[in-house]
């Protein structure tokens, strides 16, 4: 089970929600809702649609580059299961989320 990002609005698509579209060139698009799906079908560019994260990041309204983003990275090599590692990872995730939130707030204040 993976939580994917919606191609249009960058929200998380939980399993069992949304639509995945596979194009003839084998590029896959996931949508969290029919709103995003319909916008995509209308050939709208998410970078121009105001309410999407893509727009906000491109327009500099939200923090783009930060050290906290380096933690979340898709890894192709599986790591052998280790209970301690799992525990520390979970705690780290929470801490990283806190820090990121704080930084985003600071960014917003100063933008």
């Amino acid at each position: 089970m993976r939580v994917e990002k919606c191609y249009f609005c960058s929200k998380p698509c939980y399993p069992g929600h949304g639509i995945a579209f596979v194009r003839n060139d084998a590029k896959m698009f996931r949508f969290c809702s029919s709103k995003c799906h319909k916008n995509f079908k209308m050939k709208r560019n998410p970078r121009k649609v105001k309410w999407t994260k893509a727009f906000r990041k491109a327009a500099g309204k939200e923090m783009n580059i930060d050290a906290t983003y380096e933690f979340e990275k898709r890894r192709n090599v599986p790591v052998r299961y280790d209970r301690e590692l799992m525990q520390t990872t979970v705690k780290a995730m929470q801490r990283v989320a806190e820090i990121r939130k704080r930084r985003e707030h600071a960014f917003w204040k100063n933008r």
């Binding site: 939980y14 933690f71 990872t89």
Partner: protein, 666 residues
Amino acid sequence: MSAAKGLKAIAPVPTASDFLDIVLSKTQRKTPTVIHKNFKISRIRNFYMRKVKFTQDSFDEKLGAILTEFPMLDDLHPFLSSLLNVLYDKNHYKLALGQLRTARHLIDQVAKDYVRLIKFGDSMYRCKQLKRAALGRMATIMKRQKDPLAYLEQVRQHISRLPAIDPTTRTLLVCGYPNVGKSSFVNKVTRADVDVQPYAFTTKSLFVGHLDYKYLRWQVVDTPGILDHPLEEMNTIEMQSITALAHLRAAVLYFMDLSGQCGYTVEAQCKLFHSIKPLFAGKPVLVVCNKSDIVKPDDLGDEDKALLQSVLAEGAQLVIASCYNEEGVMDVKNTACDALLAHRVENKLKGSKVNAIANRIHVAVPKPRDDLVRAPFIPDTVLSRKKFDKDDPERPKLERDIQEENGGAGVHSIDTKKNYFLGNDEWKYDVIPEIMDGKNVADFIDPDIMERLEALEREEEKLEADGFYDSDEEIVDSEDERHAEAETARKLALAKKHAKNRTNLPRTAGMRTISEMAESLTAAGLDPSRLQERAAMLAKARGAKRKREGAEGMDVDAEDMSGDEDTYGDEAGMEVDGEEDTPRKRAKANSGAALATTRAARIRTNRLRAGMADEVQASKAVRLRNLGQRMRNMHAKAGESDRAIRVKMPKHLYSGKRKGGKTDRR
């Protein structure tokens, strides 16, 4: 396509009378029919000539078709032509066709002659008689062709039922005395369903079956039995076998019945073999001893054995078979096919066509590049491993066995985590979190995550120390900013005010009270006492007048009273001294500290009467006004400019029948 290869389907041949009917009725339909004796003679002649010519053409066409469709025996494969000869007698066939040809020629002649005569016919009657004569003669000629036509129809029907024998492909020819078991063999080996009966000559013509061997198609031709007498004495049925034997390049399967059940002795059969031996030249021959369930060649007597030997001396192969219990049938087939194949291949190799193919084929074999032996490598453990034996009690326990023990396939689920390699065996059955807070845990798992988190924490501390996160108090506004804010607030208030449709100045804007006046005068150094007295007096008088007017009765439109505010441009009613010629003003009923006017100069314009001569006129004006407004009020219009139509098509005006009224009510 007709059954036999090389013979096309032939159209049915009509009988003589039918033929005649067809042609004559065609003439009648397809040529003009209207003629009269006082037409021009040329027209009459043309008419009759056309009829004669048309009839001739029709005959020509039809006879020509028949003649071309029936095959010329010389143009066919010798097997077919001799078969046709055997069946239909070549001479008779040729004669019939010749007769038709002659008939065609004769009809042409007749037509030519009579057309020439009609050309010089002088009356309609003469022309008509000539035409009648012409057609009559043609008819007679056709009637004489009754026999040939009937014969040809018979031939055609028979030809269409001939079996499709390909004279050039691989064929096995089955021959022998009647009743030896040829048809049974063919039935066994192919899908053909030939009649098998105990009487002789059950098979009266050639039959074909097909079989597959070595991925090739083989024809098996079943022939009627042959009796031992010279060729000239043979009847049609036997001649068919002979023809097949003579012309088909096939493997010959000579069937023998050693038991004598067919009604013929072994001796007779061997004699037959010897007499038709010449037909076997150049063909692989197989002698099949059928009905071996009854008698085998070893059971034969000495003379019979000797005779058999003589038969086999010719280079024929002996096979023993029994179609009844099916043993040896496959042997026969295989031997015959192999023999024929070998024979054919040999012939082909001898011919010149092979070289063309042989030159193009090349079989490549890899050449070894050195002397090294490269054998397959199998590790010793694998070689020495004990092979898993299902029945061995010492065998290792499979998952399947465990499954069976614990209740079977649907009940027990196999423990896949049993053999995991982990740092600590307690962790084997852990439930692993996958998703948390909208993120995948798997994306964060990293052996160095602790170091990275430490680095991040240090970074955080540094940022905090730099004051990055200091909460921002409101920075002191400069004067300009405060002004700007005040400005915006003011603008907002103004906008709100205008939204309510209010005036900029309140009513009491320019108002000044007596006491204010007195103050300012005192400040200026003047004495206000006299003014104050006068003002008091005036105020009293105004109050008394108002009371009086209230008793008299107000005007009709009392509402005007409150509405009047006839202030003039100059100071808001500060006239203290009387100015008689100033127009009257009506002071507001309840404006307390407001306008003080002179008694005399109180003007009360009654707007209702303004412009009207008298009451009567005024009331008329009012009535007229009301009249004009009535329709609009009835239609709930807001005013004379209200032209809006709320409902374009109200349903009650557009539906229903117009019973007895207008469309503004239905």
